[in-house]
Amino acid sequence: MSAPLDLPKWADTILVPAISVVAAFLVAGLVVLGIGENPFSATRYLIQGSLGTGEGLGFTLFYMTDFIFVGLAVAVAYHAGLFNIGGEGQATLAGLGIALVLNNLTFLPGFLLIPLGILGAAAFGAAWAAVPGYLQAKRGSHIVITTIMFNWLASVLIVYLLVNVLREPQSMNPETHAFPEQSYIPFMHEVFAVFGIEIPASQLNLTLVLALAASYFVWLLIYRSRLGYAIRVVGSNPAAAVYAGISPARITIIAMVLSGALAGGLAVNELMGYQHRLLLEFTSGYGFVGIAVALMGRAHPVGIILASLLFGILYQGGAELAFEQPAITRDMVVVIGGIIILFAGALDGLFRRAVAHVLTRQKLARA
């Protein structure tokens, strides 16, 4: 870590992330210019497509739900000083958990099946994160490397299971039988229709509420609970934690279990809320977007919700944009995500130092 810089809180939590995002968009604009497209009309299509229509907004919030979960997952581990880049694998396994629960307990009514499915997702995601957590805590193997390996193991495992074991015998596609209908998490437009309010149909479902509840829970946990305090102490100074009677090994495993369970939320939203079956590659690289979300949101739930909204806008707007200006494919979002990770994560010191410099000069000028 770079030498600590004394920045006022507002500069640290709002200004520096904002500068990183603006810088990321400037670079992205240059890329758009570089391939001979107009960045201004691109921005207009992006905003129009994601926020301009009710349907677009629904899709934006659907993606936001995904990103809140993976962002929280990265953040909880981050507070414990762990870098969990295994969100992809954990969400994949969570999908397996959902499929196993839902397709084996088809006789249960919805009000039992839905919570059980969510628990299945959390349990499988947590288990897939617990192993790297345990290896880090007890055997000293580096969490980054093991979570990378576990991502690939998950993707190989799911291909094997879907092709050889879980696939329907008649079906050619590597996907499971559709989940029982009572296990579908209701779409938001259906919920609103019950109250007689008509909103445009989209993939947005009640999982959004779960994501917001999870954000509140993570806030309580990290900033208002004894365990959260222990997690933060281990994250900032493991040696001090030992003196305070906190076991870093225990906290490491607990933080990874929570992180993996949160990553499972991605599978809940995608599979129980929308696809209604387990299929290959439903995680679509969102696990890595979670890193960008957590870094941008300063690992704070409020920041994560805002950053998730931004990425929701980018993903939904990006899809519409690719329709209007075909040269700008959705890969643009991956590029922006990469630049944000670079600026808000690795080059963070660059902006912090610049801000600190400007602020001190102002202070001196006033004095």
Binding site: F83, V144, T329, A346
Partner: protein
């Protein structure tokens, strides 16, 4: 299995291990100097794209190689700037490099050629043809990099300093040698090697670039690096082993073995990852990375 099929498997194992070896040695140089590099995948990917695009545009595989190396070194320098000069988080920077590479190659490829992110097929002198025993020149360049890496790192003054910077940068600094300079040199050498590996993928092994054609090779190379315990000759062994597993997996597809039945391809594909996890867990032997790897150097400490 008869002799001729044994030779075929050996041959395809060598082919498959070359990109792994290039990336693995790149990681070795970088990490031995104290810069952790999980962006090997991304650097190979940009190199593969730049090489195919340049080879197509200029009609020469060698110009493709230069472009591939150039693109990879630029990405390496971004990583270097973030992790050495800015003392940023090296893992975060590596993740960013991988995402940038995946996104940029797809976008630019699509914008330039409008073939779903592919480059137009390369033929004739646009590709590296067979140079010796049915393998292209790049294969021998990468193989040659093994003794070269071993010699330079292990037997020269420069190599000693570079290794020292990865173990105890403060000691090197006290001796009046630039930590920053050595680490940048290592990152650039890593960029060159990834560039060769990526070029081999798109201009040697295949005839053109496909989106995301590295398909995790950079991460298997990372696994091989741990397996080789950050040493050059074992790196050759580990990469060949993983290449061999890949070749066997392809060979065994749909074949039933006596006594075992059909071996799922995925079981063999999972082996490199699984073996790395087991090794890292310290069950068989212990893999200890360079001591200062991942730690930015702060002079005033």
């Amino acid at each position: 299995m008869d002799l001729s099929s044994l030779v075929t498997v050996f041959d395809s194992a060598l082919r498959l291990s070359i990109p792994l070896l290039a990336a693995c040695l790149a990681g070795l140089w970088s990490e031995r100097s104290g810069v952790v590099d999980i962006g090997l995948e991304g650097k190979m990917l940009v190199a593969a794209f730049a090489a195919a695009a340049a080879a197509y545009a200029f009609g020469s595989a060698w110009i493709g190689l230069i472009a591939g190396i150039g693109a990879s070194v630029v990405f390496g320098l971004i990583h270097g700037f973030a992790s050495i000069s800015q003392r940023g988080n090296q893992i975060v920077s590596g993740v960013a490099i991988n995402m940038l590479a995946a996104g940029l190659t797809a976008i630019v490829g699509n914008a330039w050629y409008a073939q779903g992110g592919r480059t137009p097929p390369l033929e004739g002198v646009q590709r590296f043809g067979d140079a010796l025993f049915g393998h292209s020149a790049l294969v021998y360049i990468v193989l040659l990099a093994v003794p070269l890496t071993w010699f330079v790192l292990g037997r020269t003054r420069f190599g000693l300093r570079l290794r020292a910077v990865g173990e105890n940068p403060a000691a090197v600094d006290t001796a009046g040698i630039s930590v920053t300079g050595l680490r940048y040199t290592a990152v650039i050498i890593g960029g060159v090697l990834c560039g060769i590996g990526g070029t081999y993928l798109s201009v040697g092994q295949s005839a053109g670039f496909l989106p995301n054609m590295t398909a995790g090779k950079g991460f298997i190379a990372l696994a091989a690096l741990i397996f080789a315990k950050w040493r050059a000759w074992p790196a050759l062994g580990a990469c060949f082993l993983f290449g061999l597993l890949d070749a066997i997996a392809i060979r065994l597809q749909g074949i039933s073995l006596p006594g075992i039945g059909e071996v799922p391809v995925q079981a063999i594909q999972a082996l490199p990852y699984l073996m790395t996890v087991i090794l890292l867990a310290g069950v068989i032997g212990k893999a200890i990375p360079p001591r200062a790897a991942g730690v930015p150097y702060v002079k005033e400490r």
